[in-house]
């Protein structure tokens, strides 16, 4: 593998890992709120969270561009913070988070909805407050779903293409991820290099699924 391709693989894995770590806390919190909460606007929140699953990824990327670009809704605010997002690795991260979050929330939510309620109630009768119940009962009991959700989101992040290409482009060493690179290589007829990246993707995906299955078994 050439240093150029290695850099592509490394950047993808590194940013996808970071994206997964970034989305787990809010993702788990959202999953719990949607599983347990009763509040006005819940249906709206549910829809917003699920939207990236059904919206064309390129459209999601464009939406992010409209929000975060220099002339976007949040552009002046980001500029005042001296924060440049669009066409940097941070845009790659953001695209991965937005596209992966719905999968994490859905899977983790199912975990919270599968029979943890009665244990939570029992903990309440024993004097535990909401935070203690969450960290000592709800989260440990739903850990397999949270883990499975995080792995799904990670896998989704690895393969992210549509939103990334729009919001981050294809800058070598900065925003060129595996998917973006394969597309570029095929476009320019460099099939051999594309195949190398294909094999790398296969290896990473295989490892992710294998590790996820192992973890799920051990967590029983």
């Amino acid at each position: 593998m050439t240093p150029e391709l290695l850099q592509v693989v490394w950047l993808t894995v590194w940013v996808a890992t970071l994206a997964t770590l970034v989305m787990v806390p809010p993702g788990v919190a959202l999953a719990w709120v949607l599983a347990r909460g009763r509040f006005p606007g819940k249906a709206l929140l549910e829809t917003l969270v699920a939207l990236p699953l059904v919206l064309p990824p390129v459209a999601t990327g464009y939406l992010l561009l409209r929000l975060l670009g220099r002339r976007g809704a949040l552009g002046p605010w980001l500029e005042s913070l001296d924060l440049e997002v669009i066409f940097t690795w941070k845009a790659v991260l953001l695209a991965m988070v937005v596209m992966g979050l719905p999968l994490l929330v859905r899977t983790a939510r199912a975990g919270f909805e599968q029979g943890t309620r009665r244990y939570e109630q029992m903990a309440e009768t024993l004097g535990a407050g909401p935070l203690r119940v969450f960290f000592t009962i709800s989260l440990p009991l739903a850990r397999r779903s949270v883990l499975a959700g995080a792995l799904l989101a990670f896998s989704r992040a690895l393969g992210e293409f549509g939103a990334t290409i729009v919001v981050a482009g294809s800058i070598p060493g900065e925003t060129r991820t595996i998917s973006v690179a394969i597309y570029g290589l095929l476009e320019t007829g460099r099939d051999e290099q594309a195949t190398v990246l294909l094999l790398a993707s296969l290896a990473i995906a295989f490892t992710a699924v294998w590790v996820s299955n192992r973890l799920a078994r051990e967590a029983v």
Binding site: M122, T125, L126, G127
Partner: protein, 230 residues
């Protein structure tokens, strides 16, 4: 067995679950109040209202001076503040914790009791470091009871707590439990469909049928039912 301690209790619970209506009202001073009746008579529902796991449509629940529920005054104390020790029939042990982790979960709520005493009374000393997944039904129930006792309750709620425990052991525990509760001045509500069990622990008894109070009296009533006295 009659208790030395008597605590004023008020139990007024009215609620509807589909077509099933629970409507029970009773107050009196009691050490252990037995709720007796066949399956489906509403005993567990009443207990869950007292524990704070279910809402009454109307009613009041008072333990001594403490108001746990008063729907007119819009009082519905959260379960975590009620200081009840609840031992449900299906135990509901936390599956990811050991026996010790379960028993000590609520132990930081008050001075508690010496762990050794509770383990000894319930005959579970040798289970303490086991995961709960391998326990038998009777063992699970005894661990659930230990967890309730260790949580420094102001009121103990027992729902068929020893139904799966073998008879000789159940008799030993039922004989020791009232003494243990008297020493700590803890009143109890004991739900069972077993007249012998209720007669062994309760000093007052409410008989429920189809969600309504069919009779109330002392435990004598169950030992010598009116029909048997002819």
């Amino acid at each position: 067995m009659s208790r030395c301690v008597e605590v004023p209790l008020t139990l007024e619970v009215r609620l509807r679950q589909g077509r099933f209506v629970v409507d029970v009202a009773w107050s009196g001073a009691c050490g252990t109040l037995g709720l007796f009746g066949p399956s489906g008579s509403g005993k567990t529902t009443v207990l869950e209202v007292v524990a704070g796991l279910r809402r009454a449509a109307a009613g009041r629940v008072l333990v001594g001076e403490r108001v746990l529920v008063d729907t007119r005054a819009r009082v519905d104390m959260p379960a975590r503040l009620r200081r009840v020790g609840y031992a449900p029939q299906d135990a509901v042990l936390f599956p990811h914790l050991t026996v010790r982790g379960n028993i000590l979960y609520g132990a930081d709520r008050g001075p508690g009791a010496p762990l050794e005493d509770v383990l000894q009374m319930l005959e579970i000393e040798r289970l303490i470091d086991r995961p709960v997944s391998g326990l038998s039904g009777g063992e699970r129930q005894r661990v659930a009871l230990a967890r309730a006792l260790m949580s420094s309750p102001d009121l103990l709620l027992l729902d068929e707590p020893l139904a799966a425990v073998d008879v000789p052991r159940r008799r030993r525990i039922l004989a020791a439990l009232p003494r243990w509760l008297d020493e700590r001045q803890v009143p109890a509500l004991h739900v069972s469909h077993d007249a012998e069990e209720i007669a062994a622990t309760a000093d007052c008894v409410l008989v429920l049928e189809d969600g309504r109070l069919a009779a109330s009296g002392t435990a004598e009533m169950l030992r010598n039912p009116p029909a048997a006295r002819g």
